[in-house]
């Protein structure tokens, strides 16, 4: 599904004062298949923006338009339930949404809501599939209480509960917050695995620039409710000055590339770690030959 917002605006509360606009004229298109990053400081409007995408925050009149695949979120008859089944959303600290007595029931919650006619056998297949996708042993965890699992496992169960209906778009809000280095690495690997399987589009909201530079095909920078830059990580992070105005740091790769450039060394790269290393190595080797 293609995601398209046009001139999307949103104000909190009753005030119409311009200063209180959480979103202002946000126009953005995310194509099917992208691994899209949304970056910005806390309070820049990035969470408000993504919560519009599945109708958790309702589009108001004269506040622009949102079209996701065949869904037009401005229309009265827009079926949000159908939309939410196809656009999954993972919140910050998703483990805090777990509620059921067993892991199985918690993961099955989405199936029961979105597809109430599913047969018990089919539900079991889907839950098993979801738990195994996130790397948990189905037989070992299915009858456990979600609350007796470790922190990392809880988060996996929560993700399983979102991907159980195989959404084609997955939106994640700061999904690696609180994870330790290994947990973080495994989680990112999981995202790529999902992206190669049924999840066609991933939208990743994060303030971790290194994470975005390393993993995203494109990204948008939010500041004070507006998009100030859209493009590949390279396009965004090449313009260090405009980024600094939004209070964001450069990813390490972009910082190093810039410093090298200032020293008269051009090491053009795509701002992934491997890309940077390749550029440096070839630059050094070439320099040696000259």
């Amino acid at each position: 599904m293609r995601i398209e917002t046009e001139k999307l605006s949103y104000a909190y509360g009753e005030s119409k004062a311009l200063m209180n606009l959480a979103l202002k004229d946000v126009t953005l298109t995310v194509e099917e298949g992208e691994f899209f990053g949304i970056i910005g400081q806390t309070g820049s409007g990035k969470t408000t923006f993504v919560q519009h995408l599945n109708g958790l925050i309702k589009l108001k009149k004269n506040s622009g338009s949102i079209k996701i695949g065949e869904f037009d979120l401005g229309e009265k008859k827009c079926d949000f339930k159908k939309l939410r089944a196809r656009l999954g959303m993972v919140f910050q600290y998703p483990e805090y949404q777990l509620f059921a007595e067993t892991v199985f029931e918690d993961v099955a919650f989405g199936v029961k809501n979105f597809m109430p006619e599913t047969s018990p056998e089919q539900v079991e297949v889907m839950v098993k599939d979801a738990l195994e996708t996130v790397g948990l042993n189905y037989l070992k965890v299915k009858d456990k209480s979600p609350f007796e699992l470790s922190g990392g496992q809880k988060r996996r169960v929560a993700i399983a509960g979102v991907i159980v209906t195989k959404p084609e778009v997955l939106v994640l809000d700061e999904p690696v917050a609180g994870l330790d280095p290994q947990g973080k690495r495994e989680f990112i690997a999981l995202l790529h695995k999902l992206h190669k399987s049924f999840v066609k589009t991933i939208i990743l909201v994060s303030h971790d620039m290194d994470l975005v530079a390393e993993n995203c095909t494109r990204a948008a920078v939010f500041s004070h409710g507006q998009i100030v830059a859209v493009g590949t990580p390279k396009e965004i992070f090449s313009n260090a000055e405009s980024l600094e105005q939004t209070g964001l740091d450069l990813p390490l790769t972009a910082y190093l590339t810039n410093m090298l450039k200032q020293a008269g060394i051009t090491a053009e790269n795509d701002y992934t770690v491997d890309g940077l290393i390749k550029a440096i190595v070839s630059e050094i080797n070439c320099g040696g030959e000259r």
Partner: protein, 277 residues
């Protein structure tokens, strides 16, 4: 003399597994010590052992000559060891910043006038004087955490323990809190023990302990710790990205000097490399 020392401390929440196993460590006055370990390694239990929130099953925790095992001395210890926890929301007791900072001194039975002075001191130490009469709910995560630090500083502790106090903050908030802590350590001589899994917060420490499975697995300067890349990875940890890049370059034949832990240093060395060649 060590201001805080653990001697062969073991502790378990239940009988089946030990959260902390036979840990001995000592912290000197004015030191900046980092304790790192993956989630569930037992590192947070250490914070609670330091100020007697949990008591060792075996061994002893001694702070400035007082033992946490002695019930009468527990407040002497908590006055000396201030602990700041992970979630800023769950540490603030009052709806107004100054009332919250006053909470500790009030508990100690300090006179009103002096409480006022301590609030002033603590809030200015964390750079939050302007928010004295504000409500904490309207502040950012980093600001809330600085208020939590002020609330602990109002007890005038000699040791400040940060139990993953930056884990829930955004980069801006982390920066704010780290700056405050560094300043307290350098200018006010407060001993700092920071418990974290962010590798880049460890870089400035005098000493680093790596905790794995409830035990001290490694101890040394940040330099010494990060030289053992494979060992660290085995403990579910990782090098700071800078050290990682240096490492990857080395494997491609581009050798940089040892001990690059910060991005500034890495950039410097990279530029120097080119000039040489």
């Amino acid at each position: 003399m060590a201001i805080l020392s653990l001697e062969n401390v073991s502790f378990s929440y239940d009988k089946h597994s030990n959260a902390v196993k036979d840990v001995s460590l000592s912290v000197e006055k004015g030191e900046y010590v980092a304790i790192i370990g993956h989630n569930g390694s037992g590192k947070s239990t250490l914070a609670k052992l330091f100020n007697g929130l949990v008591l060792p099953d075996k061994g002893s925790v001694i702070v400035d000559g007082f033992s946490t095992l002695n019930k009468k001395e527990v407040f002497e210890i908590r006055k000396r060891v201030g602990v700041v926890f992970q979630n800023p929301d769950n540490q603030l007791v009052a709806s107004i910043v100054e009332d919250d900072v006053a909470f500790g001194p009030e508990n100690l039975g300090i006179k009103r006038e002096e409480i006022g002075q301590r609030i002033e001191f603590a809030l200015s130490a964390v750079g939050m004087e302007k928010f004295r009469h504000s409500s904490p709910t309207r502040l950012s995560g980093g600001q809330k955490q600085r208020i939590a630090i002020a609330g602990v500083l109002a007890l005038k502790p000699q040791i400040l323990v940060l139990d993953e106090s930056t884990a829930m903050l955004d980069p801006q908030g982390r920066k704010e809190v780290l700056e405050v802590i560094k300043k307290l350590n350098q200018d006010n001589g407060v001993t700092v023990i920071t418990i974290t899994h962010y590798m880049d917060e460890v870089v400035d420490a005098d000493k680093v302990y790596v905790i794995n499975d409830g035990k001290i697995a490694l101890c040394g300067t940040p330099q010494e710790i990060f030289n053992q890349k494979e060992v660290i990875k085995g403990f579910g940890l990782e090098l700071p990205l800078c050290a990682e890049i240096r490492d990857k370059l080395a494997r491609q034949g581009v050798i940089l000097p040892d001990g690059i832990l910060t991005k500034e240093r890495l950039a410097e060395e990279l530029c120097a490399l080119k000039r040489k060649s």
